[in-house]
Symmetry: C2
DNA sequence: TATTATTTTTTACAAATGATAAAAACGACA
DNA sequence: TGTCGTTTTTATCATTTGTAAAAAATAATA
């Protein structure tokens, strides 16, 4: 997915404003397995995914807990770095070879203060993610692991094909053993 | 909490911009038990809480699932109405007599397009909520109910005093019986 | 292809949580 | 204060999920 489409998919921008963002992006590629963002560091860039798939995870008592998958067209941020300019708690790992666009956060923040269209575009970005995240939170509050897995199969079937099940399990908040049981039962 | 402080607590605004928002707010009061926002309707206002406490909940198979508590200084929105101008999935119930400030969403949207400071203020509002919500999601993914209850006790002790335990239980994603067990065990 | 490493499934048992019903505690109010 | 309705706790049993270890399947590499 090219950078113009990614930016406009968040919210349609006037040509001039969109160009201001694009001028500041740099295409980068990294191989599968690369750790793009490290937990406990201040991340100074955001990334748009042109191609590939990534996961965000936190480490908890030696285990990785995956809480987000990003695919083509989506935006990678280190939440605390982006929102509060503090060290983030999550790491980002590339699950496939990826093509990304890098954009420096400081530059983006400048544009937010200079261009009202970009400010509203940034607002839309946060709002859309907020809605999605809240829906996931609510869903996790009353659906069983089996229901959540079914939901995932239905909404993002491509994910299960491309991502190993251990990551899916932790994304669902259950163990791999438990997911395996659910899969056996459903078939 | 007065309206000036509430607005500035999200992000400090220039006097003129803040005034533009405040001019469009109307103080309203409702009694405990009032349903401020109804699920499955398009909500045309947002509310700032001057005084009182509210809960946001969705209905699932006859049971209320509380997913958010709002107290003085916080902002009440119907997420889908606010972000997508569609009917919301949640209801808002006042758990105490409340004093609120009402602001029409259409007016706020106009201000977003007219005033870059307000646009960035709205961005900050969404970003802060996004960060908080994501943290809650991550926490729920690997903490047990007992740990989440302890966390709640520690972070918002006043909540447990003022809100009935059935609401707390559903907020934690467990049954009231299960919460009661946890409480008995902890003491 | 053969070998090795990684991922997924299976098994057995333990712990946590859910469902249901009843008892106890609490609060509102006549 | 006494009564009634609501909330919280307790008890019992069923179900789900976790833990640990091993087997099976799959993927990576020489």
């Amino acid at each position: 997915m090219d950078i113009e489409s990614i930016i406009d998919s968040i919210s349609k921008l006037p040509e001039a404003s969109r160009t201001k963002i694009i001028e500041n992006t740099v295409p980068v590629t990294y191989p599968k397995g690369h750790i793009l963002i490290h937990a406990d560091t201040l991340e100074t860039s955001v990334y748009f995914i042109k191609k590939g798939i990534v996961r965000a995870y936190v480490n908890h008592e030696g285990n990785d807990i995956t809480f987000w998958f990003g695919t083509a067209g989506e935006t990678i941020i280190s939440m605390k770095s982006y929102v509060e300019n503090k060290r983030g708690i999550e790491s980002i790992e590339l699950l496939e070879d990826c093509e990304l666009y890098r954009l420096q956060t400081t530059k983006l923040q400048q544009l937010y203060l200079q261009d009202i269209h970009i400010a509203n575009w940034g607002r839309k970005f946060a709002e859309q993610n907020l809605k999605t995240t809240e829906e996931r939170l609510i869903s996790s509050q009353f659906r069983t692991a089996k229901q959540r897995y079914r939901e995932l199969l239905k909404n993002t079937p491509h994910l299960i094909q491309r991502v190993q099940l251990g990551h899916i399990a932790s994304y669902l908040g259950i163990t791999q053993v438990s997911l395996s049981r659910i899969r056996a039962e459903i078939k």
